[in-house]
């Protein structure tokens, strides 16, 4: 590894208050205040550096992942009020340390990134980044093995890298980010950082469409969907073919999935007809949701002003005038009724310029506008874009970024995802419950994560990783065995 290491334990001790836990604690690994992981960098020709953080994180500013106000809140409040009172429990260093020591599934995470049981360059050259309580990032971290990775979560041992620009990412999972903020124009239940089960449906729809396209169109098999901890979802595609894509291909793929939406004036770039099979299939997936989750639950055109939006999307004067008239005379119509009105009015012969076919197409466009996934495409386009790792703690909500099982997508409830504090409490509860019923030996066999609600998620993740490793091994059994043999012979 081309890193210059300069372990300077003492230096860390001088860090500010919030960091003080670091000096003694093997705390903060990925995420939370601590942070997240990232772009793999294999081979590192001094070239085209990874640029500054701003450019890499720019599009994250508006989602809560990193630099938003959320992670900073604890810090701000620290300054005027006593720590214990104001600091949300889940971000206290002690809690985080416990979480990463006792619950964080290092082993499967390592295998997931390593694509093999023995340490490979895939893992060793991977860049990890950590977020400090102050919002600062430690980037360009990499580890030779899972154990070192776990240990290095102890910041005293931190490596220092002098020439960050010498790194050029060469390989990374293909990632997608779907964030609820992008749905603000069309959701009525919440806005900003808030979510509820109603608007989570948008994420459900998006996951379905994107997942289907990735599997059927691009043939990817190892797609891991992860709850982002607050109000979105990430996808990690670990297929070899996906990992090796360069920026151009990532951009193409992202744009393939992104549909140019109409702007506020309802002017659309025009979706080509006949519909591309991908759009056509997506529409079929989305249609049922449109009736129930959009029209009924969101009711996006309830008020008169909201109803204007739909009128703007219909490019036919005669039709819109007639609709306007009808709606003026009967206020308080629901979106479902208004949607039905379009056809009714059109059949009554109020179409002036559009043909019936064009109306069908216009209605398709509207349905797409209200249901089609809104991806934060920039995240997917660059190899060097950092994305929060699975199983880390979201700094704003304390929720663990758990994987989502797409086989049972509807059942996933973001509001019931365990928070770090809940999990730690569950360990205690389990210990209490089994205080007498199990022997100490038996208890020792039970790992902490197995005592909590994290169990299901970790097991799902393990299963997923096992599938990935199996596939990965098929291709390179020969090489693998050589390496394994070599490693064995060195073992004592």
């Amino acid at each position: 590894m081309p890193h210059a290491t300069s372990p300077s334990p003492e230096a860390e001790a001088t860090m500010n208050v919030e960091d003080s836990h670091m000096t003694d604690a093997p705390a903060l690994p990925l995420e939370a205040e601590p942070s997240s992981d990232l772009a793999e960098s294999q081979e590192l020709p001094a070239n085209g550096g990874t640029a500054n953080l701003d450019s890499i994180f720019d599009d994250d500013d508006d989602d809560d992942e990193y630099s938003s106000s959320a992670p900073r809140k604890p810090e701000d409040s620290l300054q005027d009020i006593p720590q214990q009172v104001s600091k949300p429990k889940y971000s206290s260093p002690d809690i985080l340390r416990q979480f990463y020591q006792r619950l964080f599934p290092f082993r499967p995470l390592f295998q997931w990134l390593n694509h093999s049981p023995t340490p490979q360059p895939d893992f060793q050259n991977r860049e990890f980044a950590f977020v400090l309580p102050g919002g600062a990032y430690i980037r360009y971290q990499s580890f030779a093995s899972a154990d070192l990775f776990r240990k290095h979560v102890n910041p005293r041992d931190r490596k220092q890298l002098r020439k960050a620009s010498a790194f050029r990412p060469v390989m990374k999972e293909l990632v997608f980010d779907i964030d609820m903020t992008d749905y603000d124009p069309i959701r009525t239940c919440c806005s900003g950082a808030a979510i509820c089960n109603k608007c989570w449906q948008f994420i459900t729809m998006a996951v379905k469409v994107v997942d289907t396209a990735l599997r059927e169109d691009f043939g990817f098999q190892h797609i891991l969907w992860v709850y982002s901890g607050r109000r979105g979802a990430h996808a990690w595609i670990s297929d070899k073919r996906a990992r090796e894509m360069d920026d151009t291909k990532r951009r193409s793929l992202a744009n393939y999935l992104v549909l140019a939406m109409g702007n506020e004036q309802g002017k659309r770039g025009g979706i080509r007809r006949p519909l591309h099979p991908h759009i056509d299939r997506s529409l079929k997936i989305l249609n049922p949701y449109f009736q129930t989750d959009v029209l009924a639950d969101q009711d996006p055109w309830a008020s008169t002003e909201q109803a204007d939006k739909i009128l703007q999307l219909l490019p036919d004067k005669g039709l819109t005038t007639a609709l306007q008239k009808k709606w003026d005379s009967m206020p308080g119509r629901t979106s479902n009724q208004r949607w039905a009105d379009i056809d009714a009015v059109a059949e009554a012969g109020h179409l002036s310029t559009m043909t019936a076919k064009q109306l069908v197409e216009a209605k398709q466009d509207i349905r797409l506008e209200y249901t089609y996934p809104r991806l934060d495409a920039e995240v997917s386009k660059k190899l060097n874009h950092l994305l929060k790792s699975p199983f880390v703690v979201h700094p704003g909500t304390g929720r663990v970024c758990v994987p989502i099982d797409t086989r049972d997508l509807e059942a996933f409830d973001p509001l019931s995802v365990p928070t770090v504090t809940e999990l730690l409490r569950e360990i205690d509860e389990w210990d209490n419950e089994h205080k007498d019923s199990m022997s100490a030996d038996e208890k020792a066999k039970v790992q902490d994560w197995q005592k909590t609600r994290l169990k299901g998620y970790v097991e799902f993740f393990r299963g997923y990783v096992a599938g990935l490793l199996k596939e990965e091994n098929k291709g390179k059994r020969g090489r693998e065995e050589d390496v394994a043999a070599g490693a064995d012979s060195m073992e004592f």
Binding site: M245, R251, L253, Y256, R272, P274, H276
Partner: protein, 514 residues
Amino acid sequence: MLAATSAPRIAPNKRTVLDARKRQFAKSTHGPEEYPHRLNFYVVPPSGDIALEQFEEWAIARLKVLAELESCQFRNRTPAETEEYMKPVLDKYMRLSSNASRSSDIEGERKRDHYSHWTLRLAFSSTADLRQRFARLEAQLFKLRMQSDDTRERQEFIKTLPMSWETLSEEEKATWLDQLKAATNVKRDEEESWFKVDWEKVPGLVERRQCLLKKGTAYVHVREQQTMVLNEFARQLETGLELSARFLPRMDEDNRLSPILHHLSQSFVAPDAGYTESSSIGDITIPTAAAIDGLAQHFPLCMQNLHRELRNNSHLKHFGRLQYTLFLKGIGLNLQECILFWRKSFKLIADDKFKSDYLYNIRHAYGDVGGDSNRRGKGYTPYSCQKLLTEPAPSAGQTHGCPYRTYSPDNLLTLLQAVGVTDRALLQGVREDVGKQRFHIACNRVFEHGHKGQLRKVKEEGLWAAGDLDTILHPNTYFKRSFLLKNLGKIKAGDLGVDGPESSSGGGREKMEE
């Protein structure tokens, strides 16, 4: 010699033999290249032996073609117009016959094409700017040739390319027909034929959703095939050029090639054109000192400007004199007449002073005096556009050089109006060209406008070979062509074939390179 790649391309048995005698008399270890197809991806550099002259001549011919291609682009010619314009140029400089044609020299043509490409690749790999320009023009040339290729031969060529595509079977086609049509937007009259590739090969089509995707395989309509070949060509060329650039420093030890390569890359500023005897009008009429005023209307702007300055001030500074004298020599004015011309023009100067200060320069320019009489030959050759465009800009009071380059756009337009170019659209075009530093294009634009009628006549009646109407790159060519066009009626058409520009730009060029 021309190889430039990271992997050694030379087989061990072909390594350089260091013993000079062995090398000189050894049999060539490698056979001549074979060119089964008209088109060439230029993947493998040539390994045969060619003469240094051929090395240069072939490259110059190719350069000429590329320059013409670029000028088409500068003049906003449509693809159809470009094709029409380029056809005679290509035939003249770089003919490439199809396999079907009975041409006797298919191998030779293709060899020239192959070698010249690699020569220019070396010449233009030195800077990013040149590389980009060269790659763009080569890609255009390739496109042009591919389009003009015989359909069947093109298909055969495409088949040989290492691009893993597979035509869709009828069965698959039937299964996916609706989706295929919807995805690739097939018009009613287009053929229903698709091929499969990995989607990574066609990211652009994926991005625009113009192909059908199934499990990572892209189903692409045949109409995209040519584009893909072109893109692949451009991509390979660009990487190849980068490689060449890295290997270029190793060539420095060969002092025979680097001057040629340097000269070639220089020629890309404005393609160089040598002066040829046939640019004079000595065979039609003997120009005299007194006739210059009359002939001045045929002069390009650079010379007209000098002539005006001379008439206004009765004097020209040294470099202006030199440029003008050489030009006059080029049009066929002999030394005696030239001395007479200058003597009369410098009417404010006394005889003594003229003799002491100016006469020698004029005789020197004609090769009448100075240096070793065995070496000076006929003195300097008349300056080409390239020379005028690359020499240091004139300082205050000097009037030599190319006005399109040295004048500010406003002053340039005033000057053009003063010499009778007043067409508004034309002036606008000149302003644009000059703004983009395409000085010789501006000059050609003015020429074409001034001889619109005659040019049309010549074209329609087929009086001149189309190659004689290529871009003007030498003031003397400008003059000769203008003179001939304006005197079309007076000179018998028959004469033109013999001594017209026919032999002027191509045939005589190489002589001038010495």
